[in-house]
């Protein structure tokens, strides 16, 4: 009787996970979906606490203690985190999930007598869990600016990584078929932890969204593998859903940069400029707050193109203020969000939502490109490579083929920028010299605040 109830609890948990994710397909229902998934998790945890097929000491004091400690830390972290630091938080959570899988597999491998299949699955969970752990920790340190890419890259890093990968897989196979040996298992654990670090080390800068998504899918897969070890369907379903989500996001991020996953993982910082170099005789036209505010105020439609520079300057709220004032004068204001704007998938949308920008005003790449020809003024704030025409018309450029926002189709382009320095990819942007373009130099936040006060005076 109890056994059946427990099994039904796991089933309900799995259905709620799927249903909750289904509701994530629209911003209107997403919050309810998240709550549904949380309820599913609660039901599943209750099931595990009361499952009468598990015999042993019980040890509930240990369980409750661990749960309270984890819940407290998790709650505090979730309440405290700034939206700009969301990629760091997701990386840390990811790493902890991977560590959890690694711990479970190592205990399982050392204390229970597993058959070959069980060993293979446990070793697989250990491998990806450990890689997700150290990889995510390094990703966190990079995102938080605590470590620079150049500090962790070694010479011939790609070759080292390939050797490490082969070594990990070979040890995985050997440990599966050989008799149990705890020293070898420890050596395997150390090797996988080291590989996780080394794997992420050469990936950086604009590739961070890819690596975060990839590590996310690893954590999911390790949870699914742990589900196979414990023969628990809810763990299996939950883990696979997370693995699918991470995989899809990884693919989308790669597509948005027109690069293969392999290229991101082994390519490292290969992108060294290239393309037609600009000579000094090209002059960019500059503009000021007075002219720009008049242009914006009396136009029909304006599109903002925010990049990570907007978040760095903390200028989202100022931008929203400008948006409100333009809307009050009947200007149609939209935002064009490139998929790799920000440091993780969808990051820019969250930052703008935090500044109270309603989500129907946020256009994705295709919608924005369709709307651009009928847009009067495009204002680029802290974005560079995602608006570079070289991606469309210069086959010799290293970003050629990457989907970009075709902002030059609009009638006027205003670029808010500190200086003429090139973007992450290290390529000069011909857009700055385009006949429709005017440069508005200065700190993004200060420039937007200037525009706000000028518009007020009109």
């Amino acid at each position: 009787m109890i056994t059946t109830i427990i099994d039904i609890a796991y089933l309900i948990g799995a259905v709620l996970f799927v249903w909750g994710l289904r509701q994530m397909s629209s911003p209107d229902t997403a919050r309810r979906g998240n709550s549904l998934a949380a309820i599913g998790m609660g039901v599943g945890i209750l099931g595990a606490l009361f499952d009468n097929r598990i015999d042993g000491g019980g040890n509930y004091a240990w369980i409750i203690g661990g749960m309270f400690a984890g819940a407290g830390i998790g709650w505090a972290a979730a309440k405290k985190i700034q939206m700009t630091a969301m990629p760091q938080l997701v990386s840390i959570f990811n790493g902890l999930g991977g560590l959890c899988a690694a711990i479970l597999s190592i205990v399982e491998l050392t204390t229970t007598d597993l058959d070959t299949g069980g060993k293979a699955i446990s070793l697989f969970a250990l491998l990806i869990g450990a890689v997700a752990f150290t990889g995510s920790i390094l990703a966190y340190l990079k995102l938080d600016g605590k470590l620079k890419d150049s500090q962790v890259v070694w010479p011939k890093h790609n070759i080292i990584n390939q050797i490490l990968l082969v070594a990990c897989l070979a040890m995985c196979v050997y440990l599966t078929i050989s008799v149990q040996s705890i020293p070898l298992l420890i050596a395997f654990l150390v090797l996988t932890l080291f590989y996780g670090w080394s794997f992420v080390a050469p990936i950086g800068g604009a590739d961070m969204p890819v690596v975060i998504s990839l590590l996310n899918s690893f954590t999911g897969l390790s949870a699914a593998a742990a589900g196979l070890i414990y023969n628990n369907n809810l763990m299996l379903v939950g883990g696979i859903l997370v693995g699918a989500s991470g995989t899809i996001l990884t693919v989308l991020m790669c597509q948005a940069m027109n690069r293969s996953l392999w290229n991101v993982v082994v390519g490292g910082f290969a992108g060294s400029g290239g393309g037609a170099q600009t000579d000094g005789d090209q002059v960019a036209k500059s503009t000021n707050a007075v002219d720009t505010s008049i242009l914006l105020y009396y136009s029909q439609s304006v599109m903002f193109v925010p990049g990570y520079g907007l978040a760095v300057a903390q200028a989202q709220k100022a931008l929203k203020e400008l948006d409100d004032m333009l809307e009050a004068n009947g200007v149609d204001v939209k935002y064009a969000i490139h998929p790799v704007a920000g440091r993780m998938p969808g990051h820019m949308n969250v930052l703008l939502a935090e500044a109270d920008v309603p989500y129907p005003k946020l256009l994705d790449l295709d919608d924005a490109n369709a709307a651009l020809p009928s847009t009067d003024v495009v204002v680029i704030v802290g974005a560079n490579d995602v608006v570079n025409p070289a991606a469309v018309d210069d086959p010799s450029s290293s970003i050629y083929g990457m989907p970009v926002l075709n902002v030059w189709n609009a009638k006027h382009v205003i670029v808010l920028k500190r200086s003429m320095s090139p973007g992450y990819a290290g390529i000069q942007n011909q857009l700055f010299f385009h006949e429709k373009t005017k440069m508005f130099f200065g700190d993004a936040k200060a420039s937007i605040q200037d525009l706000v006060s000028e518009v007020k005076n009109l």
């Binding site: 997403a30 661990g66 959890c100 711990i103 763990m235 939950g238 991470g246 939502a353």
Partner: protein, 103 residues
């Protein structure tokens, strides 16, 4: 070869579940709009905390004097719980900001 065939016929339902969940997962998640990709990711993080169930099972079947397993298991439970509580809470915080504002 024989072992693989045996494994497949012994675990047929599990294999069905695995494959159908993969298909379902890709179907459901590919419908999530780009606007919500960050909440999707933190929500997925929370769901990957489902591994806490494994940690609970581990502790419950450990002997009361097996302090190594108990300590590691408790750490695993805490880690899983950080994911579950932190993940769902931060996702909720983000999604709250995505309310439609009509003027």
């Amino acid at each position: 070869m024989q072992a693989i065939l045996e494994f497949i016929s012994d675990n047929l339902l599990m294999i069905y579940l695995l494959i159908f969940t993969v298909i379902l997962g890709f179907e459901v998640i590919s419908k999530v709009p780009t606007v919500l990709h960050t909440p999707l990711m933190s929500g997925a993080n929370a769901i990957s905390g489902v591994i806490i169930i494994g940690a609970i099972i581990l502790i419950r079947r450990s002997a009361p004097d097996d302090y190594l397993s108990l300590t590691l298991g408790t750490v695993a439970i805490a880690l899983g719980m950080i994911n579950v509580v932190g993940g769902f809470a931060v996702t909720d915080r983000m999604l709250e900001m995505f309310k439609k504002k009509k003027k």
